[in-house]
Symmetry: C2
Subunit: 349 residues, 2 copies
């Protein structure tokens, strides 16, 4: 049997409204009655029902998170950070992993709406359904549900993102400084486009020409990165392409590429330099340890939560969308052959 406010009131010999008052602490209550009520609460181990409470107050103290794939380390860490931050502030988190399927994402939003979440953080999955997505955003707005997009710039939406352009520039610039001129690019989905832009930017800066046949792109549905990196590199090799370095859209792609290189008997970094992106756990553990671009995921996750909660607080639905861009950090390890030694214990963090 569930204990309700009624039982507590009876136990304490007061009315339910008094109990409610001590529960919320807003209105003043006589010290003595407060004490009586508190004792009754403790004695009966009463836990106020959030559901009933929500019926009246606007908020559920619940927020929804949409990520493409929870089993990917990057999103797993992000989810963890978001969850922690939210928890600190008294919120619970619904998580939906969409596997990059639009129907899944839609279903998630519907469910979030029905469950009256106070806000939504989404890590842009499919980019291909702009129309649908737009209607979702409108719908959320009409329901006054604040949203923050993670890493995907969606028109009209507040956004927290890494500066992938800058990160890519740093990475490719490093390769160029090392003397590489023929640099292949194997890109992932969505945000990777900015990385490709960075790649092109460096080439422009140095008046180098981009060899388009050295570029392999994933689609928005690409999700098996290691495999994608492997097959892309395999293709590059089969096509007898000339290149002395490869910039990869993420670390898993880089690892896949390295496997293909290894199979072909091409040594990293002696014959081909390799650079990844994200700095996942495995990047420093892998052999050769991956030179990569580190995203400040934890900071970004926290920022997303803080922004969302702020929007909610201010009931701010129509102000110009904030764009928070986070700086990336080039982490130099072994896979590109530069001599700067990395902190060998970095993986202990």
């Amino acid at each position: 049997m569930k204990i309700t406010i009624k039982e507590v009131a009876q136990e304490a010999g007061v009315s339910i409204s008094t109990v409610s008052r001590v529960l919320n602490g807003k209105n003043r209550v006589n010290k003595l009655t407060r004490k009586k009520v508190e004792e009754a609460i403790k004695k009966l181990d009463f836990q106020p029902d959030q559901i009933a409470r929500t019926m009246i107050m606007k908020e559920t103290k619940t927020i929804g998170l949409v990520v493409p794939q929870l089993s990917n380390e990057y999103w797993a860490i992000l989810s963890e950070v978001i969850q922690e931050r939210l928890w600190e502030k008294g919120y619970s988190l619904f998580i939906c992993s969409t596997d990059r399927k639009w129907e899944q994402e839609t279903a998630a939003y519907r469910s979030f709406l029905e469950r009256r979440v106070d806000g939504i953080i989404l890590h842009g999955a499919t980019q291909t359904c702009e129309g649908n997505r737009f209607s979702i955003i409108e719908q959320m707005k009409s329901h006054s549900i604040p949203m923050v997009s993670f890493d995907t710039r969606i028109p009209g939406l507040h956004c927290v993102a890494g500066d992938h352009l800058q990160g890519a520039i740093d990475a490719v610039e490093h390769l160029v400084q090392l003397g590489h001129k023929e640099i292949a690019y194997i890109g992932g989905p969505s945000v990777s486009h900015h990385r490709e832009l960075g790649y092109r930017n460096v080439f422009m800066q140095h008046h180098l020409e981009v060899d388009e046949s050295l570029i392999k792109r994933g689609t928005d549905q690409t999700i098996h990165f290691t495999k994608f990196g492997y097959t892309s590199m395999e293709a590059l090799i089969n096509e007898k392409k000339q290149f002395s370095a490869v910039f990869c859209g993420n670390d898993l792609i880089a690892i896949g590429a390295s496997k293909a290189l290894e199979k072909a008997g091409i040594r990293v970094p002696q014959e081909v330099a390799l650079v990844g992106f994200d700095d996942i756990n495995m990047a420093s553990l892998y052999k050769p340890a991956l030179t990569t671009v580190r995203q400040p995921i934890r900071d970004m996750g926290q920022a997303a939560v803080d922004l969302l909660l702020e929007l909610k607080q201010n009931n701010d639905l129509h102000s110009a969308p904030t764009k928070l861009l986070f700086e990336m950090e080039l982490v130099i390890r072994e896979s590109c052959g530069s001599k700067i030694s990395s902190n060998e214990h970095s993986w202990t963090r």
Copy 2:
């Protein structure tokens, strides 16, 4: 403004109960009125409020999941599977990552209670607070909230777990078959104890004596596995211990150990054979590729969901706890030096 059932009723020119009926589909409604109502629903884009619904029906179509650390691949995959399975069945998932802190776990249960989840799946975090945990279980029982424990056998609780004993036996037996007699063991927290038991069991079977100084154990709070594996191995080496093989409580520990071995100039597998546990993604990617014990995480996650939902359906709170044990599979790769070659593409899965 939120559209309620009232507006729909008005729009369709019927009473709210009729609308409710077509919503739930249980009672028969005249075809024509049904059509009118459905049109009104579509026209107004009405979304029934789960919260209000919950006030009356018992269920929230929501379940809670407690894991120690979402950013760990093992739990990330598990969470993903559970979420998917639940979603298929129309449930939403609250996730709380406790970082193995008891206060966090308690807070999670409280929150779940307040939010009236229909069930809870927990991946046993701290083992040290049996008393507290017990009271939680009692509390959940008194609220009729079914629970399923994952991988931790808690008295009175239904449980889905891997057969770690068997897995460990297979792993160590393999080492013994390879001729190893001096086998160190570096164990992780909680469930690893069963792995240690498996280790001992094999020694017993072969009338071999366990050298206790070759055993390093983690605590329930151990969470930085790579580091733990590294320092444990470092200690073993500094203590000048003799051993030709190491069985590790999980893959991350094995990788940490391999790093320490490498630093000491000891080659794997030529001088020391290494076996991990779990078969995380990195196990097959690492060099040398790790021989390890694969857990059927996906099957286990699904089983946990199915069991939980079944318990809920049957309102089954007092039957003898089910224990579902899943078989582990020894995956032989390079790190233990046996010649059987692994499927080199296993990482593409």
